[in-house]
Symmetry: C2
Subunit: 527 residues, 2 copies
């Protein structure tokens, strides 16, 4: 077989989920989402986290401020601020965008530079010389301010094809100005692996350390990244879950697992890689972009076999039918990836919430309960509040604030200003029977109004509760009327936000369940 390349002395695993990944349609990250994802990336062991573009986007500015103020403590990763070269006709020191980059207070800054002559002339509308000067000035200024500087050469591969001398001159300019790494970007994603080697080698002749940034437009983002590594780059960029605009960026976990498990390069601690499946799922919970179950290594289906050609033989020796041991990436061969259901995970989660589950029997009991619920379609990875209610129930610590005697909701053809749905809730709270009706737009809204009304007298705190998000996911698509629906509800009391989960074949029933949990948890934690 082919001899595999040996690992360079320095190698960067660079994540751009929070910047380039967020360019994906339908993916919107607020500051809290970004903080959560940064924490997960740090757990994965990446070396660099590109956090966003301070100055260009108020949300990103706020994120860097939050990190600088201690909003997240990174154990492994360096946070990177992303920006661009200075504008034409000014100096780097005077350019507000460059100033914002420095104000983000990161050790590392990555700036994008045009390296395709046509883009300089037509998109940037400046001269080829001025563009080189912009690269030189900006890099030199940032270096003079004590920053480590990486330079992303945008459209490098297309630029090299159009005008190789100019694109290489951009690299040379960045290197001479003090850039630590120059990253070759296949911005339009049109490259094939067989085309990578020659171009990377030509750039490598300049003598600066190189990086690679690929998109999946030919289905080859990972392979192009691997080909660039084979040709000598020491820095790979990618995103979690293949996030990114169009067809997405290179899947960073796939690249990492390929390098670590196939090439044998020790890039992150084995126990961090063994946490990859949980981390990928948790990040999908934050973005609420449905996890691609079929993504390599960490997808729920990545090691799943359907009854058929292999089923009987798998019993002989599972390793004959899988390319790696799934435990190496925290996955398994079963149908369902049960992120929470391992006892160790449950113990960790419990202690995060302040419960001592060091007793083995106790932990086993809770694990069994979680496992059973996950088999039914529940997912507790992003529904901490429902998990805590389940935990308390298993520990005998669950105080019940009210007892629901009945609920129902009516939806019909009439759309009144008050909505198209009417709900009733009958319950006992503090010994008093309440039977209230509520109207709303859609069944969940009506149920929320009715439930709140029925609880108000006993628990005035519910007036502060607000339903801020409602997510529905169909599990088992293709199973017709029996398809299982999972709903997630986010609720806030103004100071904290909690998430609950409901499951059922009837979407209304699943929504009610999540709503019921949301009120119970809110009451449990009210001041």
């Amino acid at each position: 077989m082919t001899i595999l390349p040996t690992m360079p002395d320095t190698f960067h695993v660079y994540d751009t989920t929070l910047r380039d990944g967020a360019q994906q349609e339908g993916l919107q990250l607020n500051v809290n989402d970004k903080l959560k994802i940064a924490r997960y990336l740090d757990q994965l062991g990446v070396g660099f986290i590109e956090g966003g573009w301070p100055g260009a986007n108020p949300n990103d500015t706020a994120f860097f401020a939050a990190v600088a103020d201690g909003g997240v403590e990174l154990k492994n990763a360096k946070l990177v601020a992303f920006g661009a070269t200075r504008k034409a006709g000014t100096t780097a020191a005077e350019d507000p965008q460059v100033q914002a980059l420095l104000a983000a207070r990161t050790e590392v800054i990555c700036i994008v530079a045009k390296s395709h002559d046509e883009h300089v002339l037509r998109a940037l509308r400046t001269t080829l010389d001025e563009n080189l000067q912009m690269v030189a000035d900006t890099v030199a200024h940032l270096v003079s301010q004590g920053r480590r500087v990486f330079v992303d050469c945008e459209h490098f591969f297309d630029g090299y094809q159009a005008n190789p001398e100019y694109s290489l001159e951009v690299i040379r300019t960045a290197a001479e100005a003090g850039a630590e790494v120059v990253v070759l970007c296949d911005t339009n994603g049109g490259m094939l692996p067989s085309q990578m080697g020659d171009v990377v080698s030509a750039a490598g002749a300049i003598g600066v350390e190189l990086g690679i940034h690929c998109h999946n437009d030919t289905g080859c983002a990972v392979a192009n990244t691997m080909a660039a590594v084979d040709a000598g780059v020491i820095h790979v960029q990618g995103t979690l879950n293949e996030y990114g605009e169009r067809t997405g960026n290179a899947n960073l976990i796939t690249v990492l697992a390929n390098l670590q498990l196939k090439y044998g390069w020790p890039l992150v601690p084995p126990e961090a890689l063994a946490d990859a499946t949980r981390i990928a799922n948790a990040v999908a919970g934050v973005t609420n972009v449905a996890m691609n179950n079929r993504q390599p290594y960490v997808g729920a289906s990545a090691f799943t076999h359907k009854a058929g050609l292999h089923a009987s033989a798998i019993k002989v020796d599972a390793n004959l039918y899988q390319h790696i041991d799934p435990l190496l990436v925290g996955n398994d061969m079963r149908m369902l990836v049960s992120d929470m259901a391992g006892r160790a995970n449950i113990q960790i989660k419990g202690s995060e919430l302040g419960y001592d589950l060091s007793d083995r029997d106790l932990a086993a009991k809770v694990t069994e309960a979680v496992k059973a619920r996950e088999m039914d379609g529940y997912s507790y990875e992003s529904a901490d509040a429902s998990f805590e209610l389940l935990l308390r129930s298993e520990l005998g610590l669950l105080e019940e604030f009210f007892e629901v005697l009945s609920w129902r909701v009516i939806t019909g053809h009439e759309v009144k200003p008050e909505g198209d749905s009417e709900a009733t809730v009958k319950l006992l709270a503090k010994g008093v029977l309440r039977h209230l009706v509520g109207e709303g737009h859609g069944p969940l809204n009506a149920l929320d109004v009715a439930l709140r009304g029925a609880l108000r007298q006993a628990y005035p705190a519910v007036d502060d509760f607000e339903l801020t998000d409602f997510k529905v996911r169909i599990l088992d698509q293709g199973h017709g009327t029996d398809a299982i629906v999972r709903t997630l509800i986010d609720m806030t009391d103004g100071s904290r936000t909690w998430t609950t989960v409901g499951v059922g074949t009837n979407v209304i029933e699943a929504s009610w369940e999540a709503l019921y949990d949301a009120y119970r948890w809110g009451l449990l934690k009210r001041d």
Copy 2:
């Protein structure tokens, strides 16, 4: 840049959606689904369609019988029956599985052979010599019966690593027995592109034409396929929409588009490739596995840009920001892939249903109506019945059989044997007012019972109508309570099946709309 390889004289584009693709979790294809997909594959211009495993699966046997009886007329593609080498200890002529392959009456047969010594010994539990004899016998027998024979060497790459001599001996045996193509299968999907060339070259030295079959477990299925082509294989296997077990098979459209548009190989007519986006979406409609919008070339997001770094520059010249012209694969730069909304498509669809839309103004009017509905989230690609109702309405040809005055549905906490939901429907049919109530499991079931009851007296035909499938898809995931829901309903009257679509933010309302259309279309077409 790298010099691209030239096209061999013979090159096979071989689809295995109906066989290996159907190994995907949650993907179930009945005979009708398979016939539909075969028709789409033929339109795409693939050379070979692997239809399934006759004899091993009654559904597949029925599919081959249906094709042989004229169930689908293939203009471009050859249908292939898939099976295995004969069992140990018998002859090929006497093996019922081999007999079933011949009974499928296809010109081409593809058989899978073990080529990894450990799999022969431990999974097949026979000797290495007997396995070679099984390959030789089976190929020779099928060839003697006038068939073209392809041989899939299962686990070839792992087998080559474990015991290169034996795995190559399997190829040699198949070739000497008369196999036209021997296909190297990366069954476990663990290969990287840099490892492909040496192995393919070693196999190529035997002198038989080679094929390649890859899975995406390292994120490199397409790239591994391309690497094998670079090393000389003349036959590529893959599936539509990356279907397949675990992480899926090589995406055949991506491979095809890479070879045709990047290498410049004229594998299918340009107009067929320009139909690829519609075909991929239509097949997703048949499988009801949500389309991966971010797949290369044909995904709805494949050429979509989010406001950001590129937005202003795209206006200068879109081609600076896309790796190919999206029209080459029937895609476009807009947010929404509107499969139906082109006037030419509408005219074709209309004539398929028996409506003359050759008048430009008329076609434009219908196109506008479809476009407006698609903007709201409707999809007519797989909902022909709703499309025909819309078409008739625009043409002034829609007879209304009943008028709904009101409907509503109640869901609540009580689960009785009759169900958890109760619906009422009030309508006018043939001048008579009917107000009926129905109970059921879930709101849709209850509405169906009530609507059927209200129509029965005026239209006894509704008693033959049966709701056979109900699909829900959440559009715009992540948009909270405003998320748009699309529902598809399949209904049958025993002799034909029709599909309708409903859309709304309230899932009940969307379901009702599809149900209402389903009854209207059924009444329109009743005998």
